[in-house]
Symmetry: C2
Subunit: 341 residues, 2 copies
DNA sequence: ATAATAATTGAAATCGATTGTATTTTTATT
DNA sequence: AATAAAAATACAATCGATTTCAATTATTAT
């Protein structure tokens, strides 16, 4: 295995010092253009490839950004990552990605690994908001920026990129009301999570605006897992009057509900309308197609990464007093499951 | 920002040399146990964190494995990555992941980035098999192991981890025949791709075994995109006799076909059975649920990573004369779309 | 043409861990 | 106790790029 070409080889070939070669390759302004082009020519002639290990050691930066995701199994996650990647590679950074697989233990391990790898910054969508942010302390101490997205942790000096959940739920609920549905059953994830508290706010807002009294019996907190729909439908049927619409905070769960409802001979959307959340691929495949909220994954990824890079450039911008949030607009996608034929 | 603790700090505190500290921390056998424990105690007291940049430079290894994936949007991809991650982190490696988003240009860029990042090895599921493996040359030249999985490129000295496509297609076809379906329309991706040629073999094998003549009109090559199903169904209807079963090499496409068939008043599975491939989430959501082939993502990821790590340990094992393949068993999941009521 | 100033380039230290070889310490043997 | 052998530790070079400060060269003004 032949040895790698270094700046010393280039320097010798060019009759210059390694210092000048280094500066030329980094496009430093004090190097004459003529010298630069000479060096670049030799570099490509010799097939020079910068040794990032040496550069990392000297500059104490890895040019890697860590990303911790619950799971890489949806179009949404894929597009968030794609957005991040676009912005990062533009700026010369790579992504060190790991899945927490919805395990807090794994999230903990991932955070630790990222720290050992000396990533320059961290983007996190948390396993659970209830997990806290204690485990990011090593990052905070070293002033390495940590930015949350989608599932956002609460901590001082942290930034979170989220969708405007209040507005999203408001829009979905309003749509149902406009279609003439009045008794809207709303299924959410854990009450402890901001995301769902916000959505509940949006739901209430739409009701108030349409002069409909809020009824706590029509709101349910659930795990939103694929098998949670049995419980959901059971709970609906226990009510003295069956709801005429179902607004579930997750497409997978909503899709399954449709299946169960159909199997019970309940017609969607005539007997009951269904609205989901996320615009998963599933939503276009259940029968009837699911009305849902689309959120801009790509954009979220881009904004999260941009914010991170900005903090790397200007560390003073990290000094916030509490979790600051950037909310993205989401959009309602109306399909058959919520429109009376 | 206080300075990081180095092995020199530990050495001073322990009254030993940095060399011994380094060896102790790496659990080198020539260091006395007593010395080791002393050093570990001091290291943790001082909050020492190894500087991987320095280690990387000295050892000329990054401890990063690059992974290039078409897109991170399915359970299958997520579980492959999870499998890789499990094995890698066990051995002290991290994953540098990037999506090619089905663009050859992007795959090219990713490969280049991975090379610049000096990953110790590369795991690739290619955008397209027709893309060739020219762009991996820098890796080959430096003897950095590249292993393909799922979508496997053809090249000398390369290993590919695939499923046993012959057997998978054989099993699916046999199942249809056993259910009494006789005219099975088989839709595949490009003829140039091994994967599909193998599946065609399996299809033929099952026919022969059941004394049914092979009919080329019943085989179609397609892009398998979500909107390809119009063509598929059109082609089926052009036949003098309509097929009674449809075996499509992709769940998404198969699911769409079901939708289109239903919209045309053709009943699945009574008029025509449908079998897909991949066991995507979709398959459990179309109506009727889709019979499909499940392949072991987690296992594939684990095996790919294990093979890679083995080559890192023993570089001589890289010397193969051509693409060698490891085939994994897949399983047929029978659901409503292929079982007559 | 010459001094003064600006523009380039070079020398050498540095980042922190690793490792081949030399040296010291410990243990075993007679 | 003295010596040989083995075990443990230290010295010092090294990996390759970056960067401060000093030195040199080029440019401008007088």
């Amino acid at each position: 295995m032949s040895k790698d070409i270094t700046i010393y080889d280039i320097a010798k070939d060019a009759g210059l010092s390694p210092a000048t070669v280094s500066r030329a390759l980094n496009d430093h302004p004090t190097v004459r253009e003529k010298t630069k082009s000479k060096i670049f020519k030799i570099a490509s002639k010799l097939g020079y490839q910068s040794n990032i290990f040496a550069a990392n050691l000297r500059t104490n930066r890895s040019n890697n950004i860590g990303v911790i995701v619950p799971m890489l199994d949806s179009k949404f996650q894929a597009s968030v990552i794609a957005g991040m990647e676009t912005v990062a590679s533009e700026a010369g950074f790579n992504l060190l990605i790991s899945q927490s697989l919805n395990s807090q233990e794994k999230e903990l391990a991932n955070v630790h690994t990222m720290f050992k790898s000396r990533v320059d910054g961290l983007l996190v969508s948390q396993t659970s908001n209830e997990f806290g942010t204690q485990h990011f302390k090593p990052f905070f101490r070293k002033n390495i920026p940590v930015i949350f997205y989608d599932r956002v942790g609460n901590c001082d000096n942290c930034l979170g990129i989220v969708i405007d959940n209040v507005n999203a739920a408001y829009t979905a609920t309003k749509h149902l009301l406009e279609q003439g549905y009045k008794r809207i059953f709303h299924v959410l994830g854990s009450e402890k999570i901001d995301v769902y508290r916000d959505r509940l706010k949006g739901y209430k807002l739409a009701l108030i605006e349409n002069h409909i009294a809020y009824n706590g019996d029509l709101v349910m907190f659930s795990k939103l897992s694929e098998d949670a729909c049995e419980d959901i439908i059971e709970k609906m049927q226990e009510l003295e009057q069956m709801p005429d619409a179902l607004f579930v905070s997750n497409d997978g769960c909503a899709a399954n509900c449709i299946q169960v409802l159909k199997s019970k001979g309940i017609c969607v959307p005539d007997d009951i309308a269904v609205v989901g959340f996320n615009n998963d691929g599933i939503s276009r495949l259940v029968e009837p197609n699911l009305t849902t909220i689309n959120y801009p994954g790509q954009e979220m990824g881009e904004i999260a990464m941009k914010s991170l890079l900005q903090r790397l450039e200007d560390p003073s911008s990290t000094t916030l007093n509490q979790t600051e949030k950037i909310s993205l607009r989401s959009e309602l996608i109306i399909r058959d499951s919520s429109v009376k034929k």
